[in-house]
Amino acid sequence: MKVTGVLGDFKDVNHTITAAQQVNEAGYREFDFFTPYPVHGLDKAMGVKRTILPYISFVGACAGLATALGLQWWTGAVDYKLNIGGKQLFAIQFSVPIDFELTVLLCALSTVAGLFHLCRIPTWWHPFQNDEGFKKATDDTFVLGIYATDDRFHVETVKTFMHQLGAANVRVCYDEPADATEVTATPSVVTA
């Protein structure tokens, strides 16, 4: 059974910001806050860098526009010349509606694909999935988790540190479901 990390709960949203700042300043990098809704300013306090998603969307939009122009020009003016009332085979003016629609379509698709990639979803596994309390993060609890993959990770140090931050119910999470003895052991950690 391997340790995947240490978790601690916060009930008050105001404490999450200072806690995130302190974890970041203490030099931890592999940590995360799990919150039921996006908390304004928490990403900044955690030291999260601005997302590159807009660039991915922009590339998608350009690809959409190029596809639309290329499609309308190549099909109507090159591959099969379509003479409509003696007008030019291709003109920017009539292509505008489809240019717009394909730009929006490919931009939206690339935004969602980019989101999935940056968030690494869909996924089947989560390091904290065996922790019962972790599920509260999608309900009403702000859960701070420090992953065992962090260079500075040491179970006892991190536990003490989390207590100092004011986290409740500090507990260790393993990569296999906890058995009965460990479940009963959890409350003693809370009182500690």
């Binding site: 908390v39 998603l53 409509i84 969602v112 869909p122 996924t123 904290f128």
Partner: protein
Amino acid sequence: MATKLQALRHEREPLVLGNPTIHDITVKIADIAESKPNMKFLLALGFSATLAAWGLGCILYTVFYGVGVWGLNNPIGWGWDITNFVFWVGIGHAGTLISAILFLFRQKWRTAINRSAEAMTIFAVINATMMVLSHTGRQWLFTWLLPAPMNQMNMWTNFRSPLEWDVFAVNTYLTVSLLFWFVGMVPDLATMRDYVKGKLARTLYGVFSLGWDGSMRRWHHYEMAYMILAGLSTPLVLSVHSVVSFDFTVGVLPGWHTTIFPPYFVAGAIFSGFAMVVTLLVILREILDLKEFITMKHLDNMNKVILATGMMVGYAYAMEFFIAQYSGNPYEGFVFINRATGDYAWAYWSMVLCNVISPQVFWFAGMRRSIPVMFIVSIFVNIGMWFERFTIISTSLHHDFLPASWGYYSPTWVEVSIFAGTFGIFLTLFLLFSKFIPVIAIAEVKGVLPNAQPAHHHADHADKH
């Protein structure tokens, strides 16, 4: 009543009533899916599914025998089919408007209603797509609509045709609306996954929530994605009905060939969409007991939008008449006189009564906050907006340039059944949605509760301003 309203004007109403905790919101919304469906729900579902099956049967009948089973005739080649198409696309506009445009304007009240309005959008656009596909005659050749070299002459589609633009506009709208709806739903599906007890339900919600864990690092990307999708949907909402209106304006028929159509259609679409949202939400908040989320404030705001867009539509009706006479074009002038006094005058005046006169009651705050009044007016607007499309299509077609080719059109039982069936499909999908998917955007509502956001954050903002 008067003192209550005065008090409301002085103080901003809370978005969620009853001061619930974050946990209360999870329980309240997630329990809708956890609880067993009651008899009322099953009866409603049975009724709408029967209606849907009947409508789909009639579409199959049309596919089998051809569009000759409809009442279309020589001057009138578009009837209820295209009327219903424009009607349903129009209804699909409120959802994206609420989710995208109101999001960009930071209108926080949208959080309680955006999920159901977006669902409504998608179901309405599905209906619209079905209507337009069923009218093509040989429905199995639908691939000819796509730019793929697969028709009998190995030709490409004509990209100058507004009907081709429509294919792109409606499909893009459906796809982007679906993406927007689904992305907005992922965190709530994760909440459901962690809430429900049943193994099957947990697995299904688990699959569709994609492994969402509420990680702040993920929220950071997520919020950006949501904003980009909102930014994309905003011009898209305005473009879809503009492109639909091009189907008419690019034609040379009097009454269709006018530049007012794109903005007039967009205003009408938002008008009809909001009316449908009010109709459905009044019922939904009653049945699912969501009164503390979908409050009077929400309904009041939507009724204001109905009033405003109703006035725009009324202005467009008047302006069409004015321009028809002012242009000096005898055909254009005739079409409008014929619209108000000819064979279809009953449809025209029903439209004016429903769309221009009936929303005027919303000038009074008491009326905007009365459930029976808003329910009746929203039904009136739904009917009126259907008549608007019917009037535009049939009056321009039935009396065209040559009096020798004039005619009259009435639908057959098949067309009426298909139209009734679209309501069945719409309601069936909406009922299933309201049972299995969180009807209120849980995460978004949590985020706008008082004290949901860190106090210092607001102080930061105050410093900047």
